[in-house]
């Protein structure tokens, strides 16, 4: 298992959300946008100096703060897998 958080992902890298490690409020807000365990997530950009991160889930793009992004745990596909 190769679990990292969204801030550690490379730009354009895709993984699968395993866990959202936050309070009920954060989990709910993210889920309403479709950001929830089990779905594919692609990191589109990260701003300098721990600025906000833009991710894509389904066809929705969401910008979130660095602190929020750190709470989303992602499983990267092993190199030989095709996700």
């Amino acid at each position: 298992m190769n679990t990292i958080d969204v801030t550690q992902m490379q730009v354009q890298q895709t993984g699968k959300i395993m866990l959202v490690e936050g309070g009920h409020g954060l989990v709910r807000r993210l889920e309403a946008m479709g950001v929830r365990p089990g779905v594919k997530i692609t990191k589109l950009s990260g701003q300098l100096m721990q600025g906000p991160i833009v991710i894509k889930v389904g066809s929705t793009q969401v910008a979130l703060g660095f602190g929020m992004a750190r709470k989303i745990k992602v499983l990267l596909p092993a190199p030989e897998d095709n996700l």
């Binding site: 730009v11 309403a32 389904g58 066809s59 910008a63 703060g65």
Partner: protein
């Protein structure tokens, strides 16, 4: 049979609620259905105040409510609470149906809300909007299958062109309560199952807009692009504004209005009190629209001739930026900078709006989540962001000195914004959460929707501002005539003169500034001030206190105590900055 159903509908259904996620074209559909213009935007949160319109329906009318955009019925923000409350009220009264507007390019996320709505005891009909865009990007949805699965009518629509809207209206009567049976804890699973059954996505290449989206949000390319976009926006506003003044407004006033005014002037006689009120002073026997200060001369020229062209230009450019979807991207790029003043990136949206007029700026602070953020944002824009009316007048006054006259004003205000914001960040208690916003797809703004929106905003300016300007000019003339301003000037003038280096008349101007800032800046023109004095006066006029219209919304939004705090910060910092400028320049 049909008549029974019609009359039953007529008796029972008096209300239509438009519900859906943000950025799905809900407000455009609302405009189409009601014909009443409404502000329709591309960034989340503009319609926190919901709009109500009416729609002819056979021989009677129904009320149509544009409910704020929501992602879920489990509210996470004040706007979503409003939406859920509206829904609950409608369910209780049993007199409403829901048009659930979906973004066809984003079916899965949109269905999450739909499934929640179908569990409620209220008839639903679905408008599958942005249908053309979905087809364009290769998303194929089986409408019949979707209808069969959900058990309610589904109509593909393109709100911006009106395609499918007539069908939707015809089908409204067939709205039904949902009978979909699923475990609410497995809602996303159900959404997934439905999406899989009805949707096919063809493989396709990146569209131009997607490439543009990547470029504008990546820091290395995005920041230079943001600078260019803002520069172009600024130059366009200046170009359109000045163009309209030089080629439309000024010729109209000089060639058509001036002769009429001269005629009235002769009839009234130059020395009468009525002449002072209506025409004002003559310069070499002629009217000077900038300086005469009568109600029908300067009073009309300032709002219509000098300010309106800039208001139009500003809202044209801003509305384009809004509807294209650029602002949330700018918010992401500027997020770190906004943290200096204790806010996150989305605060750029109210700040931008404030450049047009502080009143909608303060109202738009509702996109911010906490009281602390709203206090900082509202106070800060009242202190350091001049509205477009005032900016236009400052340009008119200092423009002749070029950058040497203009830059000190705006650079000073920018630093005040930054420093005052940073101080408030440390002093104001409470929380400032991180940015969290959907980044909508780029869209080419729909031209007539855009114009409608610009017209709504210009119209709003005329309705709100014009009476204040006329009253302002009237009050100035009366106060001058009865010597009140001279008296106040002698009372407090020495202090103002000592601290700010301004003449005694400045006191009266500060008083009038409470009514209208643009009129107050206009009053500086006849005083024969030096460039330095003009710069100080413009800065102090911007900072010292909000105009009465802004004051009223601040009072409503912040409450008396917070408003008093904000006012103290404003007056204090205005005199501090004015004195410093007086020493430095």
């Amino acid at each position: 049979m049909k008549t029974t159903r019609d009359s039953k509908f007529k008796h029972l259904k008096k209300q239509i609620l438009l519900m859906g996620n943000p950025n799905v074209g809900k407000s455009v559909l609302f405009t189409r259905l009601t014909g009443v213009g409404v502000i329709a935007s591309n960034y989340p949160g503009t319609t926190v105040e919901y709009s109500i319109g009416t729609m002819g329906f056979g021989d009677h009318t129904v009320k149509v409510i544009d409910v704020p955009g929501i992602y879920t019925l489990d509210p996470t923000s004040p706007a979503e609470e409003v939406a859920v409350n509206l829904l609950e009220e409608a369910i209780e009264k049993k007199n409403s149906i829901i048009i659930n507007v979906l973004d066809a390019t984003n079916l899965e996320r949109n269905l999450n809300l739909t499934l929640q709505l179908l569990k409620k005891k209220i008839p639903v009909i679905i408008a599958l909007n942005l249908w053309d865009e979905a087809q364009h990007i290769g998303v194929k949805i089986d409408v019949h299958e979707l209808k069969a699965l959900l058990g309610v009518p589904v109509i593909p629509t393109v709100a911006v062109t009106g395609q499918g809207v007539n069908v939707l209206v015809d089908m409204i009567k067939q709205a039904k309560q949902g009978h979909l049976d699923f475990d609410d804890n497995k809602r996303w699973h159900e959404v997934g199952t439905i999406t899989e059954k009805v949707q096919v996505i063809h493989h396709r290449h990146h569209t131009v807009f997607e490439r543009l989206s990547d470029l504008t949000i990546h820091p290395i390319t995005g920041i230079p692009i943001a600078f260019v976009v803002l520069l172009i926006a600024f130059f366009l506003i200046r170009l359109i504004g000045e163009g309209l003044i030089n080629y439309v407004a000024d010729p109209l006033f000089e060639n058509l209005w001036a002769p009429v005014m001269m005629l009235i002037s002769r009839i009234l006689g130059a020395d009468s009190f009525l002449h002072t009120l209506i025409i004002g002073q003559l310069f070499n026997g002629q009217i000077d629209f900038g300086q005469s200060f009568g109600i029908l001369t300067t009073g009309l020229y300032v709002p219509l001739g000098a300010v309106l062209p800039y208001i139009f230009a500003f809202y044209l450019v801003l509305s384009f930026l809004e509807d294209s979807g650029y602002l949330p991207r700018l918010a992401v790029l500027i997020d770190k900078t906004m943290h200096i003043i204790g806010l996150h990136g989305m605060a750029i949206v109210p700040m931008f709006l404030a450049c047009g007029c502080n009143v909608p700026g303060v109202l738009a602070t509702r996109v911010l989540e906490t009281r602390r953020e709203r206090f900082i944002a509202a106070t800060l824009m009242s202190i350091s962001i001049p509205c477009m009316a005032q900016t236009a007048m400052i340009f008119g006054l200092l423009g002749k000195y070029g950058a040497r006259g203009l830059l000190p004003v705006f650079i000073t205000l920018f630093f005040v914004w930054l420093i005052a914001g940073n101080i408030m960040r440390w002093l104001v208690k409470g929380q400032s959460p991180e940015i969290f916003t959907e980044i909508p797809q780029y869209r080419i703004p729909h031209f007539s929707t855009l114009l409608k929106k610009v017209w709504m905003r210009v119209h709003w300016f005329l309705r709100e501002a014009l009476p204040f300007v006329l009253i302002g000019v009237l009050v100035v003339n009366i106060l001058y005539t009865f010597g009140v301003i001279a008296f106040l000037g002698q009372l407090t003038g020495p202090m103002i003169h000592k601290l700010l280096g301004l003449p005694l008349d400045a006191v009266g101007i500060l008083l009038i500034g409470f009514l209208r800032k643009d009129i107050a800046v206009g009053m500086l023109a006849p005083l024969g001030l030096s460039m330095k004095q003009l710069i100080i006066a413009c800065v102090v006029l911007t900072m010292y206190f909000p105009c009465v219209a802004t004051f009223i919304v601040l009072l409503k939004e912040l409450g008396i105590i917070q408003m008093l705090k904000a006012a103290l910060i404003m007056v204090g910092s205005a005199f501090l900055v004015g004195s410093v400028l007086n020493l430095l320049l």
